[in-house]
Symmetry: C2
Subunit: 283 residues, 2 copies
Protein backbone atom coordinates (compact mmCIF):
# COMPACT_ATOMS: atom_id res chain seq x y z
CA UNK A 1 0.00 0.00 0.00
CA UNK A 2 2.97 2.29 0.17
CA UNK A 3 3.05 5.13 -2.31
CA UNK A 4 6.18 6.57 -3.93
CA UNK A 5 6.24 10.28 -4.66
CA UNK A 6 8.04 10.91 -7.93
CA UNK A 7 7.33 14.60 -8.27
CA UNK A 8 5.61 17.42 -6.40
CA UNK A 9 4.56 20.28 -8.63
CA UNK A 10 3.00 23.55 -7.52
CA UNK A 11 -0.23 24.14 -9.44
CA UNK A 12 -3.05 26.63 -8.89
CA UNK A 13 -2.16 27.14 -5.24
CA UNK A 14 -2.07 23.41 -4.48
CA UNK A 15 0.19 20.51 -5.36
CA UNK A 16 0.11 18.06 -8.22
CA UNK A 17 1.73 14.85 -7.01
CA UNK A 18 3.13 12.29 -9.41
CA UNK A 19 2.91 8.99 -7.58
CA UNK A 20 3.28 5.27 -8.03
CA UNK A 21 2.52 2.12 -6.11
CA UNK A 22 2.81 -1.63 -6.50
CA UNK A 23 -0.72 -2.66 -7.45
CA UNK A 24 -2.03 -6.12 -6.66
CA UNK A 25 -5.02 -6.08 -8.98
CA UNK A 26 -2.99 -5.14 -12.05
CA UNK A 27 0.16 -7.00 -11.02
CA UNK A 28 2.51 -4.13 -11.74
CA UNK A 29 3.76 -0.77 -10.55
CA UNK A 30 1.08 1.77 -11.40
CA UNK A 31 1.60 5.50 -11.85
CA UNK A 32 -1.09 7.93 -10.87
CA UNK A 33 -1.38 11.65 -10.24
CA UNK A 34 -3.16 13.40 -7.41
CA UNK A 35 -3.96 17.08 -7.29
CA UNK A 36 -4.31 18.38 -3.75
CA UNK A 37 -6.03 21.76 -3.69
CA UNK A 38 -4.83 24.42 -1.24
CA UNK A 39 -7.72 23.60 1.12
CA UNK A 40 -6.25 20.11 1.67
CA UNK A 41 -3.57 21.54 3.92
CA UNK A 42 -6.15 22.43 6.57
CA UNK A 43 -9.23 20.28 6.02
CA UNK A 44 -10.61 17.11 4.46
CA UNK A 45 -11.38 17.52 0.79
CA UNK A 46 -13.62 15.47 -1.52
CA UNK A 47 -12.21 13.69 -4.54
CA UNK A 48 -12.98 13.82 -8.24
CA UNK A 49 -11.65 10.82 -10.16
CA UNK A 50 -10.75 11.60 -13.76
CA UNK A 51 -10.47 8.60 -16.09
CA UNK A 52 -8.36 9.13 -19.21
CA UNK A 53 -8.92 7.98 -22.76
CA UNK A 54 -7.09 5.66 -25.13
CA UNK A 55 -3.28 5.99 -25.24
CA UNK A 56 -3.20 8.46 -22.34
CA UNK A 57 -1.43 8.29 -19.02
CA UNK A 58 -2.20 10.16 -15.82
CA UNK A 59 -0.16 13.08 -17.16
CA UNK A 60 -2.10 14.24 -20.21
CA UNK A 61 -5.11 15.66 -18.44
CA UNK A 62 -3.00 16.90 -15.53
CA UNK A 63 -1.16 19.09 -18.04
CA UNK A 64 -3.84 20.01 -20.55
CA UNK A 65 -7.27 19.50 -18.98
CA UNK A 66 -7.12 22.36 -16.45
CA UNK A 67 -9.29 20.60 -13.91
CA UNK A 68 -6.91 22.06 -11.34
CA UNK A 69 -8.24 25.53 -12.14
CA UNK A 70 -11.72 24.94 -10.75
CA UNK A 71 -10.68 22.20 -8.31
CA UNK A 72 -8.40 24.71 -6.62
CA UNK A 73 -11.22 27.20 -6.15
CA UNK A 74 -13.74 24.62 -4.98
CA UNK A 75 -11.38 22.64 -2.77
CA UNK A 76 -11.61 19.32 -4.58
CA UNK A 77 -8.78 16.82 -5.00
CA UNK A 78 -8.43 15.27 -8.46
CA UNK A 79 -7.25 11.68 -8.80
CA UNK A 80 -5.83 10.74 -12.20
CA UNK A 81 -5.32 6.97 -12.68
CA UNK A 82 -3.40 5.43 -15.55
CA UNK A 83 -5.32 3.69 -18.35
CA UNK A 84 -3.97 0.14 -18.15
CA UNK A 85 -1.34 -2.03 -16.52
CA UNK A 86 2.13 -1.35 -17.89
CA UNK A 87 4.89 -3.73 -18.80
CA UNK A 88 3.14 -7.02 -18.09
CA UNK A 89 4.63 -8.39 -21.31
CA UNK A 90 1.41 -10.08 -22.29
CA UNK A 91 1.59 -11.21 -25.88
CA UNK A 92 -0.06 -8.69 -28.19
CA UNK A 93 -0.64 -6.00 -25.57
CA UNK A 94 1.45 -3.48 -27.49
CA UNK A 95 0.18 -4.29 -30.98
CA UNK A 96 -2.67 -1.74 -31.07
CA UNK A 97 -3.20 1.75 -29.76
CA UNK A 98 -6.82 0.94 -28.95
CA UNK A 99 -6.33 -2.34 -27.08
CA UNK A 100 -3.92 -3.54 -24.41
CA UNK A 101 -1.41 -1.02 -23.08
CA UNK A 102 -3.07 2.36 -22.61
CA UNK A 103 -6.49 0.86 -23.34
CA UNK A 104 -7.68 -1.12 -20.32
CA UNK A 105 -11.31 -0.03 -20.81
CA UNK A 106 -12.04 -0.11 -17.07
CA UNK A 107 -13.11 -3.76 -17.04
CA UNK A 108 -11.71 -6.84 -15.31
CA UNK A 109 -10.60 -9.12 -18.12
CA UNK A 110 -11.95 -12.66 -17.98
CA UNK A 111 -10.38 -13.77 -21.22
CA UNK A 112 -6.84 -15.22 -21.33
CA UNK A 113 -4.18 -13.92 -21.46
CA UNK A 114 -5.56 -10.52 -20.36
CA UNK A 115 -7.19 -11.94 -17.26
CA UNK A 116 -3.70 -11.97 -15.85
CA UNK A 117 -3.54 -8.33 -14.82
CA UNK A 118 -5.96 -6.31 -16.97
CA UNK A 119 -8.24 -5.56 -14.04
CA UNK A 120 -8.76 -1.82 -14.37
CA UNK A 121 -12.29 -2.08 -13.01
CA UNK A 122 -11.12 -3.42 -9.66
CA UNK A 123 -8.08 -1.18 -9.75
CA UNK A 124 -10.08 2.04 -10.17
CA UNK A 125 -13.09 1.16 -8.03
CA UNK A 126 -11.20 -0.43 -5.17
CA UNK A 127 -7.43 -0.67 -5.04
CA UNK A 128 -6.42 2.81 -6.12
CA UNK A 129 -8.90 4.72 -3.92
CA UNK A 130 -8.01 2.51 -0.95
CA UNK A 131 -4.33 3.22 -1.57
CA UNK A 132 -4.87 6.94 -2.00
CA UNK A 133 -7.09 7.27 1.08
CA UNK A 134 -4.54 5.43 3.19
CA UNK A 135 -1.64 7.56 1.99
CA UNK A 136 -3.48 10.89 2.04
CA UNK A 137 -5.72 11.19 5.08
CA UNK A 138 -6.81 14.65 3.95
CA UNK A 139 -8.93 12.95 1.26
CA UNK A 140 -12.53 12.36 2.29
CA UNK A 141 -13.36 8.80 1.24
CA UNK A 142 -17.07 9.45 1.77
CA UNK A 143 -17.22 12.11 -0.95
CA UNK A 144 -16.04 10.88 -4.34
CA UNK A 145 -17.24 11.82 -7.81
CA UNK A 146 -16.14 10.53 -11.18
CA UNK A 147 -15.61 11.89 -14.67
CA UNK A 148 -13.59 10.99 -17.75
CA UNK A 149 -12.87 11.38 -21.42
CA UNK A 150 -13.66 9.03 -24.32
CA UNK A 151 -12.70 5.54 -23.06
CA UNK A 152 -12.54 7.23 -19.66
CA UNK A 153 -16.00 8.68 -20.19
CA UNK A 154 -17.17 5.12 -20.75
CA UNK A 155 -15.37 4.21 -17.54
CA UNK A 156 -16.94 7.04 -15.56
CA UNK A 157 -20.47 6.26 -16.77
CA UNK A 158 -20.25 2.51 -16.26
CA UNK A 159 -18.51 2.62 -12.89
CA UNK A 160 -21.17 5.06 -11.70
CA UNK A 161 -24.11 3.10 -13.10
CA UNK A 162 -22.81 -0.25 -11.81
CA UNK A 163 -22.27 1.08 -8.29
CA UNK A 164 -25.25 3.13 -7.12
CA UNK A 165 -24.26 5.31 -4.20
CA UNK A 166 -20.53 4.82 -4.61
CA UNK A 167 -19.99 8.12 -6.42
CA UNK A 168 -21.73 11.38 -5.60
CA UNK A 169 -21.93 12.41 -9.24
CA UNK A 170 -20.82 11.56 -12.75
CA UNK A 171 -19.99 13.48 -15.90
CA UNK A 172 -18.13 12.73 -19.11
CA UNK A 173 -16.44 14.25 -22.12
CA UNK A 174 -17.01 12.53 -25.47
CA UNK A 175 -17.73 9.18 -23.77
CA UNK A 176 -17.86 5.88 -25.60
CA UNK A 177 -21.50 5.59 -24.65
CA UNK A 178 -22.50 2.31 -26.24
CA UNK A 179 -19.32 0.24 -26.62
CA UNK A 180 -21.10 -2.98 -27.58
CA UNK A 181 -22.16 -1.20 -30.77
CA UNK A 182 -18.93 0.55 -31.79
CA UNK A 183 -15.63 -0.78 -33.16
CA UNK A 184 -13.50 0.32 -30.20
CA UNK A 185 -15.79 -1.31 -27.68
CA UNK A 186 -16.34 -4.48 -29.66
CA UNK A 187 -12.61 -5.02 -30.09
CA UNK A 188 -11.90 -4.34 -26.42
CA UNK A 189 -14.75 -6.39 -25.00
CA UNK A 190 -14.00 -9.34 -27.29
CA UNK A 191 -10.38 -9.26 -26.19
CA UNK A 192 -10.96 -8.75 -22.48
CA UNK A 193 -14.32 -10.47 -21.93
CA UNK A 194 -14.55 -13.03 -24.72
CA UNK A 195 -17.60 -13.85 -26.78
CA UNK A 196 -20.31 -13.73 -24.11
CA UNK A 197 -22.32 -10.65 -25.05
CA UNK A 198 -24.16 -10.72 -21.73
CA UNK A 199 -20.85 -9.86 -20.06
CA UNK A 200 -20.33 -7.03 -22.52
CA UNK A 201 -23.67 -5.49 -21.63
CA UNK A 202 -22.60 -5.26 -17.99
CA UNK A 203 -20.03 -2.67 -19.06
CA UNK A 204 -22.13 -0.71 -21.52
CA UNK A 205 -23.57 2.61 -20.32
CA UNK A 206 -26.50 2.45 -22.74
CA UNK A 207 -27.47 -0.99 -21.45
CA UNK A 208 -26.86 -0.07 -17.82
CA UNK A 209 -28.94 3.09 -17.91
CA UNK A 210 -32.00 1.02 -18.84
CA UNK A 211 -31.86 -0.61 -15.42
CA UNK A 212 -31.23 2.58 -13.43
CA UNK A 213 -33.71 3.27 -10.67
CA UNK A 214 -34.32 6.75 -9.36
CA UNK A 215 -33.02 10.14 -10.32
CA UNK A 216 -29.94 10.71 -12.42
CA UNK A 217 -27.98 13.86 -13.26
CA UNK A 218 -25.31 13.13 -15.85
CA UNK A 219 -23.49 15.97 -17.60
CA UNK A 220 -21.98 14.99 -20.94
CA UNK A 221 -20.16 17.22 -23.42
CA UNK A 222 -19.59 16.01 -26.97
CA UNK A 223 -18.09 18.18 -29.72
CA UNK A 224 -19.78 18.16 -33.08
CA UNK A 225 -16.35 18.47 -34.69
CA UNK A 226 -15.15 15.29 -32.96
CA UNK A 227 -14.06 12.84 -35.63
CA UNK A 228 -14.66 9.85 -33.40
CA UNK A 229 -18.19 11.09 -32.75
CA UNK A 230 -18.73 11.41 -36.49
CA UNK A 231 -17.32 7.91 -37.02
CA UNK A 232 -19.83 6.39 -34.61
CA UNK A 233 -17.38 5.44 -31.87
CA UNK A 234 -19.15 7.48 -29.19
CA UNK A 235 -22.89 7.10 -29.87
CA UNK A 236 -24.17 9.43 -27.15
CA UNK A 237 -27.55 9.49 -28.93
CA UNK A 238 -27.98 5.81 -28.09
CA UNK A 239 -27.47 6.57 -24.41
CA UNK A 240 -29.93 9.45 -24.55
CA UNK A 241 -32.50 7.33 -26.37
CA UNK A 242 -32.15 4.39 -23.99
CA UNK A 243 -32.53 6.67 -20.99
CA UNK A 244 -35.57 8.33 -22.46
CA UNK A 245 -37.25 5.07 -23.45
CA UNK A 246 -36.61 3.69 -19.97
CA UNK A 247 -38.08 6.75 -18.31
CA UNK A 248 -34.71 7.70 -16.82
CA UNK A 249 -34.43 11.47 -16.67
CA UNK A 250 -31.31 13.58 -16.25
CA UNK A 251 -29.01 12.43 -19.02
CA UNK A 252 -27.90 15.76 -20.46
CA UNK A 253 -25.76 15.66 -23.58
CA UNK A 254 -24.49 19.07 -24.68
CA UNK A 255 -23.45 18.96 -28.32
CA UNK A 256 -20.75 21.63 -28.47
CA UNK A 257 -20.47 23.17 -31.94
CA UNK A 258 -17.13 22.52 -33.67
CA UNK A 259 -15.31 21.16 -30.62
CA UNK A 260 -13.08 18.19 -31.31
CA UNK A 261 -11.89 15.12 -29.37
CA UNK A 262 -8.84 16.87 -27.91
CA UNK A 263 -7.88 18.29 -24.55
CA UNK A 264 -8.77 21.75 -25.90
CA UNK A 265 -12.38 20.67 -25.46
CA UNK A 266 -11.79 19.46 -21.92
CA UNK A 267 -9.89 22.62 -21.00
CA UNK A 268 -12.84 24.67 -22.23
CA UNK A 269 -15.48 22.82 -20.23
CA UNK A 270 -13.62 21.37 -17.26
CA UNK A 271 -14.80 24.22 -15.05
CA UNK A 272 -18.39 23.13 -15.76
CA UNK A 273 -17.63 19.52 -14.89
CA UNK A 274 -15.91 20.42 -11.64
CA UNK A 275 -18.89 22.65 -10.85
CA UNK A 276 -21.23 19.73 -11.58
CA UNK A 277 -19.27 17.50 -9.21
CA UNK A 278 -19.05 20.23 -6.56
CA UNK A 279 -22.83 20.50 -6.49
CA UNK A 280 -22.97 16.94 -5.14
CA UNK A 281 -19.68 16.74 -3.26
CA UNK A 282 -20.68 19.74 -1.14
CA UNK A 283 -24.42 19.00 -1.01
CA UNK B 1 2.36 37.34 -47.04
CA UNK B 2 -0.14 34.56 -47.57
CA UNK B 3 -0.95 32.42 -44.56
CA UNK B 4 -1.75 28.71 -44.65
CA UNK B 5 -4.26 27.38 -42.12
CA UNK B 6 -3.17 23.93 -40.95
CA UNK B 7 -5.76 23.46 -38.23
CA UNK B 8 -8.73 25.23 -36.69
CA UNK B 9 -9.47 24.13 -33.14
CA UNK B 10 -12.39 25.26 -31.00
CA UNK B 11 -11.11 26.56 -27.68
CA UNK B 12 -12.87 28.54 -24.95
CA UNK B 13 -15.56 29.80 -27.27
CA UNK B 14 -13.06 31.00 -29.86
CA UNK B 15 -10.70 29.39 -32.34
CA UNK B 16 -7.08 28.38 -32.05
CA UNK B 17 -5.59 28.52 -35.53
CA UNK B 18 -2.42 26.65 -36.44
CA UNK B 19 -0.87 28.64 -39.25
CA UNK B 20 2.26 28.93 -41.35
CA UNK B 21 3.76 31.36 -43.80
CA UNK B 22 6.89 31.78 -45.90
CA UNK B 23 8.94 34.25 -43.87
CA UNK B 24 11.45 36.52 -45.54
CA UNK B 25 13.36 37.54 -42.43
CA UNK B 26 14.02 33.97 -41.32
CA UNK B 27 14.27 32.51 -44.82
CA UNK B 28 11.97 29.58 -44.13
CA UNK B 29 8.39 28.50 -43.62
CA UNK B 30 7.41 29.55 -40.11
CA UNK B 31 4.64 28.02 -38.03
CA UNK B 32 2.67 30.14 -35.62
CA UNK B 33 -0.56 29.87 -33.68
CA UNK B 34 -3.25 32.48 -33.27
CA UNK B 35 -6.06 32.34 -30.77
CA UNK B 36 -9.08 34.35 -31.85
CA UNK B 37 -11.45 34.94 -28.94
CA UNK B 38 -15.22 34.80 -29.54
CA UNK B 39 -15.38 38.61 -29.67
CA UNK B 40 -13.24 38.58 -32.84
CA UNK B 41 -16.22 37.43 -34.89
CA UNK B 42 -17.96 40.74 -34.39
CA UNK B 43 -15.35 43.36 -33.51
CA UNK B 44 -11.67 44.29 -33.61
CA UNK B 45 -9.68 42.71 -30.81
CA UNK B 46 -6.30 43.62 -29.35
CA UNK B 47 -3.39 41.17 -29.46
CA UNK B 48 -1.17 39.65 -26.80
CA UNK B 49 2.05 38.20 -28.21
CA UNK B 50 3.36 35.25 -26.20
CA UNK B 51 7.04 34.38 -26.75
CA UNK B 52 8.03 30.82 -25.87
CA UNK B 53 11.11 29.48 -24.16
CA UNK B 54 13.97 27.23 -25.22
CA UNK B 55 13.03 24.09 -27.19
CA UNK B 56 9.38 25.13 -27.50
CA UNK B 57 7.22 25.65 -30.53
CA UNK B 58 4.03 27.67 -30.85
CA UNK B 59 2.12 24.64 -29.61
CA UNK B 60 3.38 24.16 -26.05
CA UNK B 61 1.81 27.20 -24.50
CA UNK B 62 -1.28 26.93 -26.70
CA UNK B 63 -1.91 23.56 -25.07
CA UNK B 64 -0.60 24.00 -21.55
CA UNK B 65 -0.41 27.71 -20.73
CA UNK B 66 -4.13 28.35 -20.25
CA UNK B 67 -3.91 31.86 -21.76
CA UNK B 68 -7.04 31.16 -23.81
CA UNK B 69 -9.05 30.97 -20.61
CA UNK B 70 -8.70 34.65 -19.74
CA UNK B 71 -8.18 35.86 -23.31
CA UNK B 72 -11.59 34.45 -24.18
CA UNK B 73 -13.27 36.37 -21.38
CA UNK B 74 -11.44 39.61 -22.05
CA UNK B 75 -11.64 39.49 -25.83
CA UNK B 76 -7.92 39.40 -26.56
CA UNK B 77 -6.26 37.50 -29.41
CA UNK B 78 -3.08 35.60 -28.51
CA UNK B 79 -0.29 35.31 -31.07
CA UNK B 80 2.16 32.46 -30.47
CA UNK B 81 5.31 32.66 -32.66
CA UNK B 82 7.83 29.85 -33.00
CA UNK B 83 11.22 30.17 -31.26
CA UNK B 84 13.62 30.04 -34.21
CA UNK B 85 13.87 29.40 -37.93
CA UNK B 86 13.47 25.72 -38.78
CA UNK B 87 15.32 23.59 -41.24
CA UNK B 88 17.85 26.12 -42.51
CA UNK B 89 20.52 23.42 -42.30
CA UNK B 90 23.05 25.79 -40.82
CA UNK B 91 26.02 23.85 -39.52
CA UNK B 92 25.70 23.26 -35.79
CA UNK B 93 22.16 24.59 -35.41
CA UNK B 94 20.90 21.27 -34.08
CA UNK B 95 23.83 20.46 -31.80
CA UNK B 96 22.42 22.06 -28.61
CA UNK B 97 19.00 22.42 -27.06
CA UNK B 98 19.88 25.94 -25.87
CA UNK B 99 21.28 27.36 -29.11
CA UNK B 100 20.19 27.26 -32.74
CA UNK B 101 16.95 25.47 -33.53
CA UNK B 102 14.31 26.26 -30.90
CA UNK B 103 16.59 28.89 -29.35
CA UNK B 104 16.61 32.01 -31.50
CA UNK B 105 16.75 34.33 -28.48
CA UNK B 106 14.76 37.07 -30.26
CA UNK B 107 17.83 38.77 -31.73
CA UNK B 108 18.97 39.37 -35.31
CA UNK B 109 22.20 37.42 -35.66
CA UNK B 110 25.16 39.36 -36.97
CA UNK B 111 27.64 36.54 -36.67
CA UNK B 112 28.15 34.02 -39.50
CA UNK B 113 26.69 31.54 -40.25
CA UNK B 114 23.64 32.48 -38.13
CA UNK B 115 23.25 35.88 -39.77
CA UNK B 116 21.78 33.94 -42.65
CA UNK B 117 18.26 33.56 -41.23
CA UNK B 118 18.40 33.77 -37.43
CA UNK B 119 16.54 37.06 -37.34
CA UNK B 120 13.91 36.42 -34.72
CA UNK B 121 13.99 40.05 -33.57
CA UNK B 122 12.85 41.35 -36.95
CA UNK B 123 10.55 38.39 -37.39
CA UNK B 124 8.66 38.96 -34.13
CA UNK B 125 8.68 42.77 -34.10
CA UNK B 126 7.89 43.29 -37.78
CA UNK B 127 7.27 40.45 -40.19
CA UNK B 128 4.96 38.23 -38.16
CA UNK B 129 2.67 41.00 -36.88
CA UNK B 130 2.48 42.50 -40.37
CA UNK B 131 1.58 39.09 -41.78
CA UNK B 132 -1.01 38.42 -39.08
CA UNK B 133 -2.62 41.86 -39.35
CA UNK B 134 -2.90 41.49 -43.13
CA UNK B 135 -4.43 38.02 -42.90
CA UNK B 136 -6.75 38.72 -39.96
CA UNK B 137 -8.31 42.16 -40.21
CA UNK B 138 -10.17 41.57 -36.96
CA UNK B 139 -6.85 42.10 -35.14
CA UNK B 140 -6.29 45.66 -33.95
CA UNK B 141 -2.71 46.54 -34.91
CA UNK B 142 -2.80 49.60 -32.67
CA UNK B 143 -3.27 47.56 -29.50
CA UNK B 144 -0.55 44.97 -28.95
CA UNK B 145 0.97 43.71 -25.70
CA UNK B 146 3.75 41.22 -25.15
CA UNK B 147 4.62 38.49 -22.67
CA UNK B 148 6.73 35.35 -22.60
CA UNK B 149 8.44 32.60 -20.68
CA UNK B 150 12.14 32.09 -19.91
CA UNK B 151 13.96 32.87 -23.19
CA UNK B 152 10.59 34.29 -24.27
CA UNK B 153 10.44 36.37 -21.10
CA UNK B 154 13.81 37.81 -22.13
CA UNK B 155 12.29 38.42 -25.55
CA UNK B 156 9.21 40.15 -24.15
CA UNK B 157 11.22 42.42 -21.85
CA UNK B 158 13.84 43.40 -24.41
CA UNK B 159 11.42 43.93 -27.30
CA UNK B 160 9.33 46.14 -25.02
CA UNK B 161 12.27 48.10 -23.63
CA UNK B 162 13.90 48.60 -27.06
CA UNK B 163 10.68 49.88 -28.63
CA UNK B 164 8.96 52.43 -26.38
CA UNK B 165 5.34 52.80 -27.40
CA UNK B 166 5.24 49.75 -29.64
CA UNK B 167 3.60 47.53 -27.02
CA UNK B 168 0.89 48.62 -24.61
CA UNK B 169 2.26 46.46 -21.79
CA UNK B 170 4.77 43.77 -20.92
CA UNK B 171 4.93 40.88 -18.50
CA UNK B 172 7.05 37.75 -18.16
CA UNK B 173 7.28 34.33 -16.54
CA UNK B 174 10.70 33.28 -15.28
CA UNK B 175 12.48 35.59 -17.74
CA UNK B 176 16.17 35.40 -18.51
CA UNK B 177 16.56 38.88 -17.09
CA UNK B 178 20.27 39.52 -17.46
CA UNK B 179 21.49 37.28 -20.30
CA UNK B 180 24.93 38.86 -20.56
CA UNK B 181 25.62 37.46 -17.09
CA UNK B 182 24.19 33.93 -17.38
CA UNK B 183 25.42 30.87 -19.28
CA UNK B 184 22.39 30.61 -21.61
CA UNK B 185 22.65 34.24 -22.65
CA UNK B 186 26.42 34.27 -23.00
CA UNK B 187 26.35 31.21 -25.25
CA UNK B 188 23.54 32.59 -27.38
CA UNK B 189 24.89 36.12 -27.71
CA UNK B 190 28.40 34.92 -28.52
CA UNK B 191 26.98 32.66 -31.20
CA UNK B 192 24.54 35.12 -32.71
CA UNK B 193 26.22 38.48 -32.07
CA UNK B 194 29.91 37.67 -31.78
CA UNK B 195 32.38 39.10 -29.29
CA UNK B 196 31.23 42.72 -29.17
CA UNK B 197 29.76 43.05 -25.71
CA UNK B 198 28.20 46.41 -26.57
CA UNK B 199 25.92 44.57 -28.96
CA UNK B 200 25.02 42.09 -26.24
CA UNK B 201 23.94 44.88 -23.91
CA UNK B 202 21.41 46.05 -26.49
CA UNK B 203 19.51 42.82 -25.89
CA UNK B 204 19.81 42.62 -22.12
CA UNK B 205 16.77 43.67 -20.08
CA UNK B 206 18.89 44.64 -17.07
CA UNK B 207 21.04 46.93 -19.22
CA UNK B 208 18.07 48.31 -21.14
CA UNK B 209 16.03 49.16 -18.05
CA UNK B 210 18.80 51.52 -16.92
CA UNK B 211 18.06 53.74 -19.91
CA UNK B 212 14.26 53.64 -19.59
CA UNK B 213 12.57 57.02 -19.33
CA UNK B 214 9.19 57.45 -17.74
CA UNK B 215 6.82 55.11 -16.00
CA UNK B 216 7.02 51.34 -16.27
CA UNK B 217 4.65 48.60 -15.11
CA UNK B 218 6.22 45.18 -15.61
CA UNK B 219 4.65 42.10 -14.04
CA UNK B 220 7.10 39.22 -13.57
CA UNK B 221 6.43 35.85 -11.93
CA UNK B 222 9.34 33.65 -10.91
CA UNK B 223 8.95 30.40 -8.98
CA UNK B 224 11.26 29.81 -6.05
CA UNK B 225 11.29 26.12 -6.96
CA UNK B 226 12.53 26.89 -10.47
CA UNK B 227 15.82 25.07 -10.99
CA UNK B 228 16.98 27.51 -13.62
CA UNK B 229 16.32 30.37 -11.23
CA UNK B 230 18.36 28.57 -8.58
CA UNK B 231 21.16 27.98 -11.10
CA UNK B 232 21.42 31.68 -11.89
CA UNK B 233 20.11 31.55 -15.44
CA UNK B 234 17.28 33.99 -14.77
CA UNK B 235 18.71 36.65 -12.42
CA UNK B 236 15.52 38.68 -11.90
CA UNK B 237 17.18 40.30 -8.87
CA UNK B 238 19.66 41.98 -11.20
CA UNK B 239 16.82 43.50 -13.18
CA UNK B 240 15.11 44.69 -10.01
CA UNK B 241 18.34 46.16 -8.68
CA UNK B 242 19.21 47.94 -11.94
CA UNK B 243 15.71 49.43 -12.14
CA UNK B 244 15.86 50.61 -8.55
CA UNK B 245 19.34 52.10 -8.89
CA UNK B 246 18.27 53.90 -12.05
CA UNK B 247 15.18 55.32 -10.39
CA UNK B 248 12.90 53.30 -12.66
CA UNK B 249 9.79 52.29 -10.75
CA UNK B 250 7.27 49.59 -11.61
CA UNK B 251 9.34 46.45 -12.02
CA UNK B 252 7.34 43.98 -9.95
CA UNK B 253 8.83 40.53 -9.45
CA UNK B 254 6.54 38.13 -7.62
CA UNK B 255 8.55 35.25 -6.20
CA UNK B 256 6.00 32.42 -6.16
CA UNK B 257 6.77 29.86 -3.45
CA UNK B 258 7.64 26.39 -4.76
CA UNK B 259 6.58 27.01 -8.37
CA UNK B 260 8.90 25.54 -10.98
CA UNK B 261 9.94 26.41 -14.54
CA UNK B 262 7.12 24.44 -16.16
CA UNK B 263 3.85 25.28 -17.85
CA UNK B 264 2.09 24.42 -14.58
CA UNK B 265 3.38 27.76 -13.34
CA UNK B 266 2.15 29.60 -16.39
CA UNK B 267 -1.25 27.92 -16.25
CA UNK B 268 -1.56 29.05 -12.63
CA UNK B 269 -0.76 32.71 -13.27
CA UNK B 270 -1.71 33.28 -16.91
CA UNK B 271 -5.03 34.81 -15.85
CA UNK B 272 -3.05 37.48 -13.98
CA UNK B 273 -0.87 38.21 -16.99
CA UNK B 274 -3.81 38.50 -19.36
CA UNK B 275 -5.46 40.78 -16.80
CA UNK B 276 -2.28 42.87 -16.68
CA UNK B 277 -2.28 43.21 -20.47
CA UNK B 278 -6.03 43.92 -20.56
CA UNK B 279 -5.56 46.88 -18.23
CA UNK B 280 -3.51 48.58 -20.95
CA UNK B 281 -5.11 47.10 -24.08
CA UNK B 282 -8.49 48.40 -22.99
CA UNK B 283 -7.26 51.60 -21.32
Amino acid sequence: MSVTTKATIASFGGKLLKLSHAATSTKCEMNFNLYLPPQASSQKVPVLIYLSGLTCTADNCSEKGFFQHAASKKGIAVLYPDTSPRGLDIQGENDSWDFGTGAGFYVDATNAPYNNGYNMYTYVTEELPKTAFAAFPQLDSSRVSITGHSMGGHGALTLFLRNPGKYKSVSAFAPISNPINCPWGQKAFAGYLGDDKAKWAEHDATELVKKWKGPLDVLIDVGTGDNFYKQGQLLPENLEKAAKESGVEGVTVRYQPDYDHSYFTMATFSDDHVEHAAKYLFA
